[in-house]
């Protein structure tokens, strides 16, 4: 029983961090209908920038985080303005290829600048594990989770209540009608790329803080993909809940089943859950079907 609780609770924490990264996908997809395959690389770049600020410039994390947010926003906005803006109206597959190309470019750049060796962050959080009754939670995981949840909550509030959030959702719903309200739809695209990049890069810092940074850190982005599809691609709540489901399933599968195989069940399990859910709900758990009034 205590193993079960242990697996569930650490899975829950991992899931919260996944949710933040999934948000990085969804924020961009919802407004622009583009699946950003460079999300993982946005994470990795965010983590490296943070690492450099901490280690080379020896800044405090309280300065480092805001600076990473600014850099990520710039990166996202520039990518949209310089690359994807010109792809408006092109076939989806071309746009996807562009984001895949972008991920290779970012990967290459990171290797050029930081090399391919593994680096770990200076300690950010208290080392002491968090103990709740029988459950022991690694401190980096726990504080990373708390951070992820704070960022997710901020995004949810902005999206739900801020004027820019309402305008972004309006744009996602009907671009022409959004224009007719005086909303600059292209600016909304830029902002959603900036937001997506911020979510991804903060997720990257949290992951980097747990497992260290190397150029391939972004490969975790592939794991996030089933989460996004599971939640329904354009649903923010879906991304959050999908994140928790995958985090927990993955941890349970890893804990209970991996000993019977050569490993790998942990990585496979989320996809099996994904297939199962899509079988029942083809638009994902919370994806938009068109509203149909009878």
């Amino acid at each position: 029983m205590d193993i079960f609780l242990q697996l569930i609770s650490s899975g829950f924490l991992v899931g919260g961090i996944y949710a933040l990264i999934a948000l990085g996908f969804v924020l961009i997809y919802k407004a622009t209908n583009i699946i950003n395959f460079a999300t993982g690389e946005f994470m990795m770049i965010g983590a490296y920038i943070f690492y450099s600020l901490m280690v080379y410039l020896e800044l405090s994390p309280f300065v480092g985080f805001p600076l990473v947010i600014v850099c990520a926003a710039l990166l996202g906005a520039l990518v949209e303005r310089l690359i994807l803006r010109h792809m408006l109206g092109q076939p989806n597959i071309s746009i996807i290829m562009v984001t895949i190309g972008l991920s290779s470019i970012l990967l290459g750049l990171a290797e050029m600048i930081w090399g391919s060796s593994f680096r770990s962050f200076p300690p950010l959080f208290p080392r002491k594990p968090i103990i709740l009754g029988e459950i022991v939670l690694r401190s980096n995981l726990f504080y990373g989770f708390v951070m992820a949840m704070v960022v997710v909550a901020v995004f949810l509030i902005v999206f739900k209540y801020a004027k820019v959030g309402v305008a972004m959702r309006a744009t996602a719903n009907d671009q022409v009608a959004a224009f007719s309200m005086g909303i600059n739809v292209k600016t909304m695209f830029t902002i959603s790329w900036a937001f997506g990049a911020i979510a991804a890069s903060l997720g990257g810092i949290i992951i980097g803080n747990i497992g260290g940074v190397q150029p391939t850190l972004g490969h975790i982005g592939l794991k996030i993909f089933p989460i996004v599809i599971l939640g329904g691609l354009d649903s923010i709540i879906g991304a959050v809940i999908g994140g928790f489901i995958v985090g927990i399933v993955e941890n349970l599968a890893g804990g209970y089943l991996d000993p019977y195989f050569y490993g790998g069940v942990k990585d496979l399990a989320p996809f099996i859950v994904l297939l199962f859910i899509l079988f029942i709900k083809p638009y994902g758990l919370f994806g938009t079907k068109e509203i149909e009034r009878l």
Binding site: N173, D174, V176, A177, A178, F179, S180
Partner: protein, 267 residues
Amino acid sequence: MSAILEVNNLEVLYNNIILVLKGLSLKVEKGSIVALLGSNGAGKSTTLKAISGFLPLEDGAITDGTIQFLGEELTRLSPHKIVKKGVFQIMEGRRVFEDLTVEENLICGAYTQKKRSKMIKDMDKCFAYFPILKKRYKRLAGYLSGGEQQMLVISRALLATPTLMMLDEPSMGLAPLLVEEIFEIIRQINENEGTTILLVEQNARMALEISNYGYIMENGRIVLDGPVDVLMGDRDVQEFYLGMGHGNEQTSYRNVKHYKRRKRWLS
């Protein structure tokens, strides 16, 4: 009275080949309600889209002519800038944001409005015109009835506090009684808020009833225009647009055609 909107010799091309507007000209006087009438495919919606700057979104382009609003040229501006200048279009077919609540739709209407206090005051004004919207405030707009959606898109426009409000077929798909109510409110908006209105309609009778001036277009051009009482008295208008037969006479398209000729002589 001075014209706040002047469209001169407008030519519009879709997909680089389909010529839809062929030298259209019209004027809208400040504080008036102007009706733009014509049969299906005449180019009424295209005219409004040209004014609002929507054509590029549909692969259309203005190839000739000018659109002057309060002395400024609109033809090269992007749609959101045109809204900021005070021209707001209510598009054909009630384009509410279905996934947003009534409240959020209204907030979008007030997007160009800087002051929150003003927005809240304007919302109360909308609820005075359309009390039902207050009851539906938190509901998703996609689940409103057609009539309620029409009220919502008009309220969105009100919240933008435009100088010129353009409506594209507000009567489409609504029950006659409701159409009457909506038109009455359009008239009130014009009167109480001083909003100038350009109204595109199939329902010529209703539109002319509340308008001061009318334009009739066919095939991308204005074929007839005049103050409403003159138009209403015109036999061809009565026959073709108001559906009043003239008994023993043969109805013939030629009767309308001669206006085109006359128009050309005049211009």
